[in-house]
Every structure is written in structure tokens, then in C-alpha cells.
């Protein structure tokens, strides 16, 4: 069996005809398997959605009870048979509930990893290597200039800045699903025990994380607080809000942004970020290449991001590789009211 008999890219997304499903479809389909709840991967309007319980719960929080015709939850490591294909979900380490999807048919196994990272994250299950024949990898940070540092020193930078500028409000741009909660957890680990303030768009997802047993300490909504009282505090907000009129409620705001993109100076400057924090929920170059090797796959399909460099690298390693040219991922408008989580 050839890989393309099991899985093909289509305008709606990756399609498995033998199993009768799509993975992270960008258009409404009959049966969707969803890797994680970020809105460029998890869209409403499908007939049946199969995903982890967390992903389903967060889709419901964002899109309402009728986000899909039917839903079915699957646990990590559990195997389901969909027509001729057996399917299993494995931790992707990206955000809470994120999964890689393994499909096996006639001895051929393809793993679609969605978005993933191999760095530690206190808010989700760690990434697991799933041996396979074909590995589908993202390439958000698919250039050797992207090597994310440890997150702890980055968080220390933020705390140092709060100490140096106690009269300023520190606004940390962070995607509202995953990154924000991870940054809060990292701040707590670093010993910061003052209340942390939240933009309203983050409230429900953050409370959901807490309900899943992730301790985040005392959190307050910014909208209830007087301007002067925000001096010397840390507020998490969707990236688009940190340069918006909303910031006028803060005393002399200092803009930080937690993202893998912050590795590149021009990127940070374009956004007017004063304190870039290189904290990413995606694998960096070393993570991507190490993971590709670890899966043992002989063929690599590369999607959303810097495909060219990663495909080139695979070839230098003697691996068959091709870009998938899927459209619709990592391109969500950041000014969407929920705050985008396109990438990083």
C-alpha cells in the first residue's frame, strides 16, 4: 500500500478515504478528526467530531453546544477502528488535549502530528514519539535560526523587568488557549505569587484549564481594576489587544509578547514589542529534526510554515520528503475576538 492510498491532501484538509474522515478540516465535512482546539485546526460545523475530551470541551466553550452534529471523545493511546483504518491519538505536547493522530492500514502507519513541541510544559501531557512509516510534521519554526531557549530564563526576564519598572503595567501578549496558561504556570514556578491579571477573552479557557487540575494561583480580570492599581502588575492578553485601545486602561504599559517569533528581532520590532519572550508551543529546529529522526519514518510530509528548509534538510539525511502545501493553517486573523492562536 502506498501512503497516498491512505491519506491525501485535499482543499478541505488531509483526507483518509479508506477511513472516511478528514484531519483538521478547514471546511465542514462528514467526519472530522481534530488534533487540538486552536481555531485554525478546530472549526465548527462538521457532522461528527472525534477528538480528545479536552479538545471537545474547549471547542464547546468557543463555539457553543452545537459546534458539531455529534462528538466522540478518545483517550490517548486508545485505538478505534474507522472502516478499514485503525486510529489512535497520542500526546503532542502543544496545548492541553493536543494530539497526534496515528492511522494504520495494511501494515502502513502514518502519523499526523498537528502542532507539537518536545519541550516541557506544565500545562499539558508531554510529547510522545510514535514510530511510523510516514510522519507529517509542521514547520512553523522550520529554519535553523529558530532554537528556542529554556522557558524559565525567559520568564525571569519578565520578572526582572517588573522589578526594574515597578510603576509600569506589564502586558504580555499570549495566545489565549495554551500559551497564556503556560506563561502563568511558569510565572508561578518562578515563585511569582502576586495576582495575575487577565484580558476578558482568556477567562473561560483559563478557568477550564484550572478545572482540569492545572493550578494557576490567584487570577483577576482586568476590567474590574482601577488604572492606578495596575502599576507593577502582570496582565496576560491576546496579542492583538496589546497594541489596541484596550491598553489605555494601563499606566505606562510595557508590551511583552510570548512567542517563538520573538527570536527574530525584526519580528518583535514590527509589532512594537519592548520585551520579547521566546516561549513557544511549537517545536524549534532542533526539536523538529530530532523528532523526525526519532519516529524512524522514511518519508516526511511537511506542512504549514517554512517547508522548504525542512524538506531540504530531510533530503540531506536521505529521507524522502515533500511539502504538502495545505492552506488555512497558521493564518487565522489575530484580531478575532477570541484572540488568534495562529502560530507560536
Amino acid at each position: 500500500m502506498r501512503p497516498q492510498d491512505l491519506l491525501v491532501p485535499t482543499p478541505a484538509g488531509l483526507c483518509c478515504r479508506l477511513g472516511g474522515f478528514h484531519i483538521d478540516p478547514v471546511r465542514p465535512v462528514e467526519r472530522a478528526l481534530i488534533t487540538h482546539a486552536h481555531s485554525d485546526h478546530a472549526r465548527p460545523g462538521h457532522g461528527t467530531v472525534l477528538a480528545t475530551q479536552e479538545t471537545l470541551d474547549m471547542m464547546r466553550l468557543r463555539y457553543g453546544d452545537n459546534f458539531a452534529g455529534r462528538t466522540q471523545a478518545i483517550r490517548y493511546g486508545e485505538t478505534l477502528r474507522l472502516d478499514d483504518v485503525s486510529v489512535s491519538f497520542h500526546p503532542a505536547g502543544h496545548v492541553l488535549g493536543s494530539a497526534q493522530i496515528a492511522m494504520t492500514c495494511n501494515g502502513l502507519r502514518i502519523v499526523a502530528s498537528g502542532d507539537y513541541k518536545d519541550a516541557p510544559d506544565p500545562t499539558c501531557e508531554p510529547f510522545e514519539v510514535v514510530p511510523c512509516d510516514v510522519f507529517i510534521t509542521e514547520a512553523t519554526f522550520g529554519l535553523p535560526v529558530f532554537r528556542h531557549p529554556d522557558a524559565a530564563p525567559e520568564v525571569r526576564k519578565l520578572l526582572d523587568s517588573v522589578r526594574l519598572f515597578p510603576e509600569r503595567a506589564h502586558l504580555v501578549g499570549a495566545y489565549s488557549l495554551g500559551k497564556a496558561q503556560r506563561v502563568i504556570a511558569l510565572l508561578r514556578t518562578a515563585g511569582y505569587d502576586a495576582p495575575i491579571y487577565l484580558h476578558g477573552a482568556m477567562e473561560s479557557i483559563t478557568h477550564y484549564y484550572e478545572s482540569r487540575g492545572i493550578a494557576l494561583g490567584e487570577l483577576r480580570l482586568v476590567k474590574d481594576i482601577k488604572k492606578a492599581d495596575l502599576a507593577g502588575t502582570i496582565t496576560l492578553a491576546p496579542p492583538s489587544a496589546t497594541s489596541d485601545i484596550w491598553t489605555r486602561r494601563f499606566p505606562d504599559p510595557l508590551t511583552a509578547f510570548a512567542s517563538g517569533w520573538m527570536r527574530i528581532r525584526a519580528r518583535a520590532r514590527q509589532r512594537g514589542v519592548e520585551l520579547p519572550l521566546v516561549i513557544s508551543d511549537h517545536a524549534d529546529w532542533d526539536g523538529l529534526t530530532a523528532t523526525i529522526k526519532a519516529t524512524g519514518a522514511g518519508e516526511i510530509w511537511v506542512t504549514h510554515g517554512e517547508e522548504e528548509a525542512l524538506v531540504h534538510w530531510c533530503k540531506t539525511q536521505g529521507l524522502a520528503a515533500r511539502p504538502l502545501a495545505l492552506v488555512g493553517y497558521g493564518e487565522e486573523d489575530e484580531s478575532a475576538s477570541t484572540g488568534g492562536e495562529d502560530a507560536a
Partner: protein
Amino acid sequence: MNRFAELLDRLSYEPGRNNKLRLITQYFREVPDPDRGYALAALTGTLSFKHAKPGLIRELIAARVDPELFALSYDYVGDLSETVALMWPRTPTSSSIKEPPTPHPSPPLATLAEGGEEVAATPSAPLPPPLQRGGVGGGGPLPDAGQGHNKPPPPTLTEVVTTLATLGKAELPAQLTHWLDELDETGRWALLKLVTGAMRIGVSARLAKTAAAALGDKDAHDVELIWPGLIPPYLDLFAWLEGRADKPANRDAAPFRPVMLAHAIETDDFATLDARDFIAEWKWDGIRVQAVSGRDDDGNIIARLYSRTGEDISKSFPDLLPSFQLPGAIDGELLVLREGRVQSFNVLQQRLNRKSVTPKLMKEFPIHLRAYDLLADNESDLRLLPFVERRTRLESFVAKLDDPRIGLSPVVPFHDWATITAARADPAAFGAGDDAEAVEGVMLKRRDAPYLPGRPKGQWWKWKRDPHIIDAVLMYAQRGHGKRSSYYSDYTFGVWTEGSDGDQLVPVGKAYFGFTDEELIQIDRFVRRNTTEKFGPVRHVVHEPDQGLVLEVAFEGLQRSTRHKSGVAMRFPRISRLRWDKPPREADRLETLERMLKTEKVH
């Protein structure tokens, strides 16, 4: 080096002057001698390393990474030092090893070792072995080696500076490689910025000195005055700033003297002033400088040229320095003179801020000092004499120098305010002749005024000519930085011109000040309500003949520009008024600017 790198990193993102100062002062407070002194030297541009060139950096990286991956990365990042800093391969001793977060079912350990072998064999794989993650911390080559043990400590700033000062060209590549191996990403970036001399982090020498001064609650001026006698790493300076020693004496033979500045005159002021008390001069549109010379202990002439803030800018004007043969201190204006004629500021600007001053540059832009005050004549300090007496001393001093590069700024004769009003309106007719285009107004100085540092009241007045004004249409708006980061405060404006299908607006400039806080709020609201498209941080604002916002723009001058589609560039443009009353169709046309260009005779 890492702490210095952290400072540069933070400064490169910080837009606010006061916050930059805080960051630098904090650094000086935390970091001991001599590192902080070398940092001050680096920030003030006092260090230069002649052998480190971008070409060398390119060679170093080319030998280490896959050329295609480098090309893709460089293309993406857009900055050589940064690309190299980010993709410099980790050596076993410089990479820390993180345990993989999960037990991995595969591959077996044998594969790990194999992966390690491959890394060494293939230059195209600048990677640690699979599943071993790098980080900024230290770490050994083996997973169970304690963090930071087997790794040599990264070099200190002092080590870098002192080593580079004595290192031969042939040894440089190996030394740089060694340091690049030892430093983390930010450290490598800072090292490369430091050695290639292209810091570009938005910190002037003045700002760095101000930050150092703040360490001892001193004014930058106090530091500037003793600066010429100081050398890196400035141990005596820091000792004084921290109250551990006396102020370093300025034993410099050619010291800077704080300059005297003028107030802008308002129409009402004339009523209280008597024309007979004043001497008038042209206000030259050049660079205010102080030319000082003196004799050192061996009797040799030491000459220096200072900016108005006391920065030593001698290096940029080697062609002018030999002219200061007599001990003394001249206050004057730096101008470009061609065939005896003063050129406009636009021409002078092409001579400024050049990294290297070539013979060609010096020939094409012959520099000239137009003298208007004398602060010292040989050993005697003239500053307490009345201006009229200093002026006489200046005239004979300049005559004695007898050098075509140093001329006297002429006095504009007048007996009442009406005459000087007319002279200001038409300098050419009142004695400035062909030099009129470099005149930006008149100076009025009290005959009895001593030379006082700072901006004393009522002594010197400047009366600038009126700015040019045009009505332009707001076309694009961009958000500001820092406190203005939520406001659309940077405006691109345009004027009408004949296009292929009728009249169209062509951008002629950008302005981000001149308006009041209240007006900023109004424009911001207008921009948000009238955005037709967004490109990243830039908003395309409606600009149709009968829909849009007309801005009255004031500017000082105009020059031809090949960089702008309109072919013109404005000097010092600012928003002077919001014309809510005016429909965009009635805004000015490009032809109006082109006419101004002709009358300005700009080159």
C-alpha cells in the same frame, strides 16, 4: 559578556529615552569595573576593531552550516550578525542537554550515538544528537554531567575588548570562533555587533554618558566636561560617580566649554526690547560646533572639534582640524562651502554621519567654520567679557588665523526692528547674497551679554524664518511606540498630482508630531473609523476628493529624493493644524512643491 549582551538586547527594543537610561544606569550599578567601563566605551563609540569585517563572519558561518539552509535563514532574518548568532552550531561543550520529557519507545540508544557521529561528519547538520535539546544554560557532553561543569565560562566583556585590541588579523578567526562557541544566542549577537562596530541600538554617546552621570546624580554635562581626559575603562570616572574619589581633573589641553543657547523670540517680546542693545547675525542652517585648540605639556598644538553637547567629533573632520593653529576656543557653525558659497543643509547632511571620511568626500563637501564667538584666546578666558568685546577679539583672532576654512559670521547692520524684520524676510537683499539659502533666520544678541552656559533669559534670541506650509491629505497611519502604541500617531500624507487616470494623491512625507494630545485622540478616532485596508501595523485611511482628512503640514526645507515616488523629501515636517473644514480636493498639488524646490535651488 552575557550581561552586556542582555543590556544591548533590551536596549534594542526599548523606544523610550528615559527607560533606556534606567536600563543603562542599572547596568552600571550592577556590573563591576572594568566591564562596565568597557561597556560605556562601546556605547559611546570609543572602541573600534579594525580587523573584524562582515566578510570574515560570512566565511566563519559558511564553513559550518549547509549553504542552502544559511541562504534561506539569512533571507528570512535579514541581518547577518543576527542570522549567524542564531544558527551558529552548538558544540558539545556549549550545549546543555535536556532530558526528553517522556520516555521514548524508540529509537534505541545505539541510534543516539550514531546520530552524534553524523553531526560531526556532516557540516549541514548543525545539531545536537537527536532528542538532546539545547538550551541557554551550561551543560556537559554527557546527560549525567552536571549543568555547567564541563563548559568554559563565556568571555567577559573586558576579555573580549582587551584581547581584540592586541590580536593580529591572522589570529582573529580562531579567537572569534572560540567565543562564538562559548556564548549563547544573545551573547553571539552582541559580540558580532560589537566587533563589527554596527551596534544600531538607538543609544547615542550622549545618552550613555547621561546614564553614567545618573549613577552619581550628576548631570551629563559634568561628565562631558571631563570626558576628553578619560580613557576606557574609566575607573576614575566611576570612582567619582560612586563618591569614592574626587572628580577626575580635566587635564586636557583642548577642553570643551558648555555652550550658550538662545530663546525663540515671540512677536510680543519686541515691545520690551530696545534695538540699540542688540547685535544681529544670520542664523546659519548648519551644525553648531566648538573648535578648541591648546598646547599639551610638550608644547604641541592639540585641536578638537566638539558638538554642541560636547561630543568630540574631530574624527569626522580631519580636513578642518589643521586650521586651528592658534590656541583658543571658537563658537561657530559648521557649513559646506563651495566656491565661496555656503551650501544648504541638505548638502551638509551628505557630509555628516559617514562611517569613513574619504578624500573624495572631503573634496566634494569642503567643510568650513563660520565663527561667531570667541570663548578663549590663548590662555585667557573671555567668557565674562561683554559680547561686543568678544566680537572684536574674534575678528582679530580670525584675521590672525588667516585661513580660508575659517570665516567670520557677518554682523547684519540694523537700527530698528523694522529693518531686521525686512532682513529676516529677505536675507539676500540684506547682505547674505548667495549664502541666503543657508540662512534660517536671524540671531539677536545683547551687546553686553557674557557667555553663559545653558539658555539664560533675555541674552540671545533666535528668530527663525517662517516654515513652509502646505495642505496635504492623510493617506496612511501607523501606530506609535511605547506610550503611543495604541494610537495611530505616525502619518503619511500626500498631495495631488496628475495621474494616468485623472488626479491622484502621491505621498510626500511622514510626520509624527506637531499635534496636541487632544488632536492625537481626534486623528486616532478618525483613522479607526475610516480605515479602508490594513497592512500589518499600517492602516490605509480613506483619501478621496471629497472624503478624508486634510493636514496642514509645516516643514523647513525641501530636497529632491529618488527614494520617494513624489521625487521630493521634506525636512523636519510636522502637523501644524488639522483642517477638518477643508475637503481633500482642495489640498495642495505636487506642482506647488516643485515650484518651491526651484526657488530653493536645492542640489
